[in-house]
Symmetry: D2
Subunit: 411 residues, 4 copies
Amino acid sequence: MGQPQQPDEAEAGAAVEKPDGARPPLGIGMVGYAFMGAAHSQGWRTVGRVFDLPRRPVLAAVCGRDGQAVRAAADRLGWAAAETDWRALITRDDVDLVDICTPGDSHAEIALAALAAGKHVLCEKPLANTVEEAEAMTEAAEAAAARGQVAMVGFNYRRVPATSLARKMVAEGRLGALRHVRVTYLQDWLVDPQFPLTWRLRKETAGSGALGDLGAHIVDLAQYLVGEPVVGVSALTETFVRDRPLPGGPTSGLSAVSANGVGQVTVDDAAVFTGRFASGALASFEATRYATGRKNVLRIELNGEHGSLAFDLERLNELEYHDHREPGTHAGFRRILVTEPDHPYLEAWWPPGHGLGYEHSFVHQARDLVTAIAEGSAPVPSFADGLQVQRVLAAVEESAAKNSVYTPIPS
Amino acid sequence: MGQPQQPDEAEAGAAVEKPDGARPPLGIGMVGYAFMGAAHSQGWRTVGRVFDLPRRPVLAAVCGRDGQAVRAAADRLGWAAAETDWRALITRDDVDLVDICTPGDSHAEIALAALAAGKHVLCEKPLANTVEEAEAMTEAAEAAAARGQVAMVGFNYRRVPATSLARKMVAEGRLGALRHVRVTYLQDWLVDPQFPLTWRLRKETAGSGALGDLGAHIVDLAQYLVGEPVVGVSALTETFVRDRPLPGGPTSGLSAVSANGVGQVTVDDAAVFTGRFASGALASFEATRYATGRKNVLRIELNGEHGSLAFDLERLNELEYHDHREPGTHAGFRRILVTEPDHPYLEAWWPPGHGLGYEHSFVHQARDLVTAIAEGSAPVPSFADGLQVQRVLAAVEESAAKNSVYTPIPS
Amino acid sequence: MGQPQQPDEAEAGAAVEKPDGARPPLGIGMVGYAFMGAAHSQGWRTVGRVFDLPRRPVLAAVCGRDGQAVRAAADRLGWAAAETDWRALITRDDVDLVDICTPGDSHAEIALAALAAGKHVLCEKPLANTVEEAEAMTEAAEAAAARGQVAMVGFNYRRVPATSLARKMVAEGRLGALRHVRVTYLQDWLVDPQFPLTWRLRKETAGSGALGDLGAHIVDLAQYLVGEPVVGVSALTETFVRDRPLPGGPTSGLSAVSANGVGQVTVDDAAVFTGRFASGALASFEATRYATGRKNVLRIELNGEHGSLAFDLERLNELEYHDHREPGTHAGFRRILVTEPDHPYLEAWWPPGHGLGYEHSFVHQARDLVTAIAEGSAPVPSFADGLQVQRVLAAVEESAAKNSVYTPIPS
Amino acid sequence: MGQPQQPDEAEAGAAVEKPDGARPPLGIGMVGYAFMGAAHSQGWRTVGRVFDLPRRPVLAAVCGRDGQAVRAAADRLGWAAAETDWRALITRDDVDLVDICTPGDSHAEIALAALAAGKHVLCEKPLANTVEEAEAMTEAAEAAAARGQVAMVGFNYRRVPATSLARKMVAEGRLGALRHVRVTYLQDWLVDPQFPLTWRLRKETAGSGALGDLGAHIVDLAQYLVGEPVVGVSALTETFVRDRPLPGGPTSGLSAVSANGVGQVTVDDAAVFTGRFASGALASFEATRYATGRKNVLRIELNGEHGSLAFDLERLNELEYHDHREPGTHAGFRRILVTEPDHPYLEAWWPPGHGLGYEHSFVHQARDLVTAIAEGSAPVPSFADGLQVQRVLAAVEESAAKNSVYTPIPS
């Protein structure tokens, strides 16, 4: 233990307005059960135990191609049923929401079908592998919205309490006019040239490399925090290691790309780009899987005329804030431990100083999505937000292909 | 997303040796459902979804005095049944393990009864409010062990991956002979003199103040990391604010202690003490609820002849390590991000850099306890370990009462 | 005190091979005595008291246009004589080395004349305001070298012990093939729109804004650490505040640029650019005077296949190092406190842990320059190095003017 | 360069009210020229070049026993003359101030004689090796004060800008009533058991070990920052390595203590102690030379009801501050970069963000001492302050010898 508590904490629970049984269920059907599927499952299992929700999420069914594996996953992750065909999953009566956790190349097909089947949709990022797909998905989502369905894209890093707090502070005008946005997403899992050629390293499955995987996150987070779109970019991309060993096993789906056990990397290893926001702030972006020793450095800093904010995903319970309106004598970047009851999402969790982890962003995502569904409101980030990110990524690729020329983003 | 993965991650789940149905259930009955109860519930709900356990924990029943409140808590936290009398709970057939999450004054009675009823027991820390109670509990636990029952005390901070790694490194001899152990547990929730007089501030319920609440954690963690007992202490304690407003409401159980809405604090606000470990290392301890701005700074540093380690609970995914056997030119404290697959408990969780939170220590505690029960092994920290901590705390109080004189700890 | 020392430290001094009197003097004549002049003066006064030099620097004369002010400065800063005409200074018999600390628009004229007068030259950065001037200076320096004169440009940040150590580690191959170079120089002194229009904000005096002032430092430092030139850049620049109040007083020399007390900023406020190094590493640069709360964040990080290094001028006694060849279990960025006797320049200073400050880079610069002069070797950074930086800056401006198109650097 | 400046900085110097020639000289005579002597020399050489002083320090003479070595030191460090007998030094007409930089066993004798000779005195810390000596010195200093002489003890860490700022903030009431003071001084230069037996490890020369060397600093700094004396302590001390090799060479003066090249350590290696301040704050102190990897961690933290401050000598340009009167939502420990013009001592130095080093504390000490002498005011820390520290250290030793019993400090 060791923490503050309410006087009567030894006995009384949080006020519960209605018992679980009185809340209408919301059936979830999830496609894919690897890393993202596990994270989403933890979100769905936990959200109703921590937050007081208007509807009760039910882990109805999970879907994967290998019957034995998906049944084992269902058993382990807590899903009531297993399916091997996502077309069957999306038509189940007990599924109200389809949660898409597959690689990007199948997002559009599944999401379009699920929306057509009358389901709500949560789709992992990036929304799609191409702008065209993302446009079709957005159009479908808007049509479905008229029928009362919601669609959301899974940029979970908006739901870390520290980034939510940062957005709130920007929206309150605490930074004033923004001058600089500086964002990196640094990982290092490709540094070893013997790391195998996974689906993430092939254009046909992943769409792009660090750009779509990491760059999508930082473009979305930057636009979310700033509250404005990026309007143009100038970019360099690079593939440092062009040939990699094939992974073993029949499930890799990559046997066609190679002879003699080596295959070609067809996506970027890293992307660095600069850009401008609508109101004139300069931006600098970097996404890479080659930043040796950096495991998950999604770091963003905003500098405005009245103050600055900085966040690093490796220390996700903290937010750095400099208030420039204070006297300089005692001013400095302060480390806000984002664990106070009045911080976003925190009232439902632990006492101050008892930090959250990576997976909590998925719990919060589930909370906001369930609430939006129950309230009939439009959740963000919407598919249109995902499309905007896709357009930025496409402009990055276009700029990189055209000698880094500044490339405007169509709005 | 944004992380490394196995080549085939889009499809295959982790190897699951047997389905849930094939694992014998382990019924849990929990007494108390406030902060600790919520944290333990999250541990019990999650552990089997993340780790491959030999038995399947079942949240059988939760117990509290207020019937309506405990039923709401059961519903919210995921317990199948609710009880209002712990004596009823501990005799339920579907309860194999009694998890005690009440204030310290009821630990001994419940634990002794539960052991007598043939149940396994997990008891929150501190083990008891007095050495005498702790001795009785330890004796009962040892007798029960002969009947195949296990008993464990809930020093959950041993199960943060970074502290587990630290223990492993000490045990491997990486630090050599230890010279210094420096530990603080700093919180600040009593700084405001208007914070009300909760049960934690009365000797009859809490036993002691910062000492038993925070000091118990740091004494246990230090002894665990060092691998030796503290053999003597010299202490100062202080109560900075002696009168506090009574909390409102009938559940506080404190109405007797006061007239006119103000009651007396009868425990310590802070304790500072020095000590010696068996092999000669010097120790310095500080536990306080008055370290303004420090929310949860359980910080421990060990200095040995070959190296040093440092940990801070506010950054629980990190461990600082200095290797003194390296050439000084390139040596320095390194920040190990304890999120690698070969770090303790991490294989079951997320990719490198995707940190865990406070509550994961309870998931890990549940894992180790379930494993010990299934294997018939004795879990640590045992009640004897809890008793040893209690003896150190008693010596601290004795020294503080006797002009700080160095007070040996009986072994 | 409080530090390690040699056994006999209470008595013995460091071995001194020859007394001051036996070292030939080296007369210094300095032009300009503002911030840079004060820093250089501290370097010249101190260097012979700390390092064992082959020649003895003598602060012969300082030069400025205002006779009374320059005499006061000479008196305060420790210069033997004062001059009001730099042409007189550079022909003094007691001046062997001309140290140019004026704004960039006078560097070329003074340096060329000083070299023609047979003097050694130390020129503050940036070497010049244009590539043409820098070319002429480099040509003159190379001709003078044949006559035994040396010329050096004052990129003092190469002489911080931590950056010198970093260079050594890169040169030893500790990072392997470099993938990323990430550099910022962040200040915030222009955030206030009422800050006046100094000479630094006018193109005719300063050449450029943040680019020449801060960007020159980071381009030089990056090229120095990498050991290779930048071969091309893509850039965005911005002037956030275009009109500023004129400073008072006749000395500003800016009265011509304005009516009604307001003048135009004709240089960049900030520059962000990406680039490539010769061997393929990607680079990202940012120089700004609008990073609110950042006072002097010259931060550089290098990621290579075997390790990474990071340095921040606000913590200049530290170097972060990650060794990727270590087992991942215990690896992490370590904080090397660059204060050990075997670290660059440190043997002459204080015991470990007793850090140096900003000005020490000028002491070290003086040491290396005096040594080069005495040994007849060519000091680095040479004027050719300064010219290369100038070419990068010119390419940045060209790219920014041409829609950010990737602009190669001529070699 | 790269920094803000005044508009006219390219030309004008700081206002100088009177030239050097018009300031009466203040002759300095320094005894000892090892580490402390070198640091003091840098202070004396630099102070008049940076600060506008009422008197002009002149490095008149330095004294040491070895004639050749002291002449070399004088030459290198910039002293006009060398003496081999301190009794000769203190009677020189050109010496106004005697600066004592010898080991503690000679402080009393030299200081008493210098005061008797009518000189001002600056004495390195600890003031003396015993309370009796310190009492005699304090008495003599007070008598001399009546004759217009000043005496100061060299607790230089009061003169780091960040600690000076901290004192100012405490004095302004920003922390409110203090609850906790937590101080360590951690070094590691004795970790190696083969480090030789220097004079610092023998009681007859050093008085005590880590206690007098490091403990004196932290006791003084804590009392200075709090603004109150420590009133009692409870202590443990330890000598981890009791036998060490003798240093080579005749100058060690330790040949008598040993046969066969090994001698006994007769002082403490480490001291940990707790205490109380006059107004009730609890204190915790630790001084050690065995904190592996910690080079110079003089870290102090103060927790008060309205806020907290923390300082670490390894990052001496920074001060951490938490303001508890701010709303908790945006509160946190801020890192004040203590380099602003309105910070103590900073107006005379560099622009914001251009940090100072260890030695600057000696420049500031010299400034304050020269100013006090010119103004006829009593400088702090006085010999009485040094005596108070000595009494605390004596109480620590007494408590350690008496089973850690709480030992009051006589006032």
